[in-house]
């Protein structure tokens, strides 16, 4: 039981990071109908910026701010510089260009900073609190949960309660109608990428101290799992990303704890396959448009 509580709470923190990253994928998907395969590479590039600033100033929050800012900038650049140039309604070129971007960014980081893993120190202790003799969350886990929760809550408010969010949703759902209502759709798409890559950078920044260290591939597995999460939840559904993120985080933690670490990707693959076979558009998919 103690073990279960520990694994459960650890899974919760993992799930929050997963959900945040998956949400960032959903934001790009909704804004541009593209799965941004380069999200992890761009996020890790932003984490390098955060790492450099923290190393120079000694302040974690300065690094955090620098990481978010560079994530936002990279997102905007990727959209304005590359994705915009591709034809609409064609996911394939978007995926291929994003894959090319991954290769460029990861190889560029490896060339610029060297391939070695750089240890990143968390701002809070990673030693779990012990409550009633049972180890539960660590302060850093708690920080992770709160940070991810605050950002996801903020994004939900932005999208559902603000005029800007209304314009972004309209631009995503019906670009032509939105333009006819005076919504500057291309700015909304850029803004979507900006927010998404910034959110992804935060997720990567929260994750890296729990991993082996910062390296160009530090967020690869996060991306794959978050993509699985987004697909399980339904690419169009922010709520799906949150629920599936927590679910997959818990599943991964419990399978790692009770079976083995190497069984965890298989469990995610099995869950993904199962969900896709039962509901091809994900759990919270919107109804498919009529075709005939």
């Amino acid at each position: 039981m103690d073990r279960f509580v520990f694994l459960f709470s650890a899974g919760l923190a993992r799930g929050a990071v997963l959900a945040l990253f998956a949400l960032s994928l959903v934001i790009v998907w909704r804004a541009a109908r593209v799965v941004n395969f380069a999200q992890a590479a761009l996020a890790v590039a932003a984490v390098y910026a955060a790492f450099a600033v923290t190393a120079a100033t000694g302040s974690y929050s300065a690094g955090l701010a620098a990481g978010l800012a560079s994530g936002a900038l990279l997102g905007a650049l990727a959209e304005r510089g590359l994705m915009r140039r591709l034809g609409a309604n064609a996911p394939l070129p978007g995926i291929i260009v994003a894959i090319g971007l991954v290769m460029v960014v990861q190889a560029g980081l490896a060339i610029g900073f060297g391939p070695e893993h750089r240890p990143m120190h968390p701002p809070f202790s990673q030693r779990p609190f012990v409550i009633g003799g049972v180890p539960v969350l660590s302060p850093y886990d708690l920080f992770t949960l709160i940070a991810a929760g605050v950002v996801m809550g903020g994004l939900a408010l932005l999208f559902n309660r603000s005029s800007l969010g209304l314009q972004m949703r309209a631009a995503a759902f019906a670009p032509e109608t939105a333009r006819l209502l005076g919504v500057r759709v291309s700015r909304m798409v850029t803004l979507g990428w900006t927010l998404a890559v910034a959110a992804a950078s935060l997720a990567a920044l929260l994750l890296v101290p729990n991993e082996l260290g910062l390296n160009p591939h530090a967020a690869d597995l996060l991306f794959v799992n978050a993509f699985a999460v987004a697909v399980i939840g339904g690419l169009d559904s922010p709520a799906g990303a949150l629920i599936a993120g927590i679910g997959v985080g818990l599943l991964g933690s419990l399978v790692t704890g009770y079976v083995s670490a190497s069984a965890s990707p298989l469990a995610v693959l099995a869950l993904l396959t199962l969900v896709l076979l039962v509901r091809p558009g994900g759990l919270f998919a919107a109804k498919e448009a009529r075709t005939a």
Binding site: F37, G87, A90, P91, G100, A107, V231, L269
Partner: protein
């Protein structure tokens, strides 16, 4: 007329390629065998993407499955080398075909990004699967060594013999694919790509076409895995990771999606170019060289596929067509408008 000429052309190209091995040293012949393996897999991938619009990021796993199938069946078989080889190839076809069928059944129900996600998860899960299933873990399996036949021992080295086998197996893998593509099945695939609803209304079931296309694409990839197993005498999950899977995509994109000739160009490129770059980098100072080693080629590949997709969607095949004058293009390469 054209149906007849495909096997003849394949035979001609195969003979030419085998003749070409005499001009290469053993290491080049080993690289040629690797390129032939990639060619088989990329041909499968390019037909899948170009004709049905389904992007698989998991063709490395299909190759691995073929390699494992080869290793299992060839190790189990006893008798002359030709029997061992045949058993191994059958094993490769069976295992990769089966995995392709399973993926194809899933693919029939999934749209672009969902399928890409599933195949991506498959690549990431391969090392776990290797450690969970009885297939040798990270060490992988050994595949039997196929020695040079006695009649030829005086003439060629083992690397050249393996290059021959690689060329022949690649030809066996790709020729049926080309025939399939230029026949009715290819027509059905293009119909499904253009408009699923319309093709359904004309009596073509998009689901079974997509499943069939996936199987037809998986088997050449599996045979490509078998080639690698012949050339290296082993199969291990480490060789079939995400980086390799993405290289296959690079080869297909650079060559021009949907084009078999492009697949050949792309495969040669992804095998030889990194090697050339690494040779050049070896001349650089140690520290810089260490950083550039392996990364520079990836950087260039990434930049190239971005540039090709943004500026030159037809890939090398289109370039080739320009050179071969205004020959009408029989197979459009639909880099856009694939799925909605």
């Amino acid at each position: 007329m054209r149906r007849l000429s495909i096997p003849l052309r394949a035979l001609l190209i195969t003979v030419l390629a085998i003749g070409g091995t005499f001009g290469l040293d053993p290491f080049r012949n080993y690289q040629l065998a690797t390129a032939a393996a990639c060619f088989a897999a990329v041909a499968g991938l390019t037909v899948l993407v170009g004709l049905t619009g389904q992007l698989s990021l998991g063709h490395a796993v299909l190759m691995a499955s073929g390699g494992y199938g080869f290793a299992f069946a060839a190790s189990a078989a006893t008798g002359p080398a030709i029997l061992v080889l045949a058993a191994g190839l059958l094993g490769a076809v069976a295992v990769s075909g089966l995995l392709g069928l399973l993926l194809g059944l899933a693919a029939a129900r999934l749209r672009g990004p969902y399928l890409a996600g599933l195949t991506l998860a498959l690549v990431i899960a391969l090392p776990s699967a290797a450690n969970t299933l009885p297939i040798g873990g990270d060490q992988g399996l050994r595949a039997p060594f196929l020695p040079v036949p006695e009649a030829l021992t005086a003439l060629i080295a083992v690397e050249q013999w393996h290059a021959w086998l690689a060329i022949i197996v690649a030809a066996l893998a790709v020729t049926p694919l080309v025939m399939l593509r230029s026949g009715r099945a290819g027509l059905r695939m293009r119909a499904v790509l253009d408009d699923e609803t319309a093709s359904r209304l004309s009596g073509v079931d998009p689901g079974s076409v997509k499943t069939g296309a996936f199987v037809a694409s998986a088997v050449p990839a599996g045979l490509g895995g078998a080639i690698l197993a012949i050339a290296t005498q082993q199969v291990a999950p480490g060789g079939y990771g995400l980086a390799f899977s993405l290289l296959l995509v690079v080869a297909a994109v650079v060559g021009g999606l949907g084009s078999i000739g492009g697949a050949a160009i792309g495969s040669v490129l992804v095998v030889f170019f990194p090697w050339v770059v690494d040779e050049l980098v070896a001349a650089a100072p140690t520290d810089l060289g260490q950083r550039l080693d392996g990364n520079l080629a990836v950087l260039v590949f990434g930049a190239v596929i971005v540039a090709v997709t943004v500026l030159w969607p037809g890939g090398a095949a289109r370039l080739l067509d320009r050179f071969l004058a205004a020959r009408p293009r029989r197979f459009a390469t639909p880099a856009t408008n694939t799925e909605r």
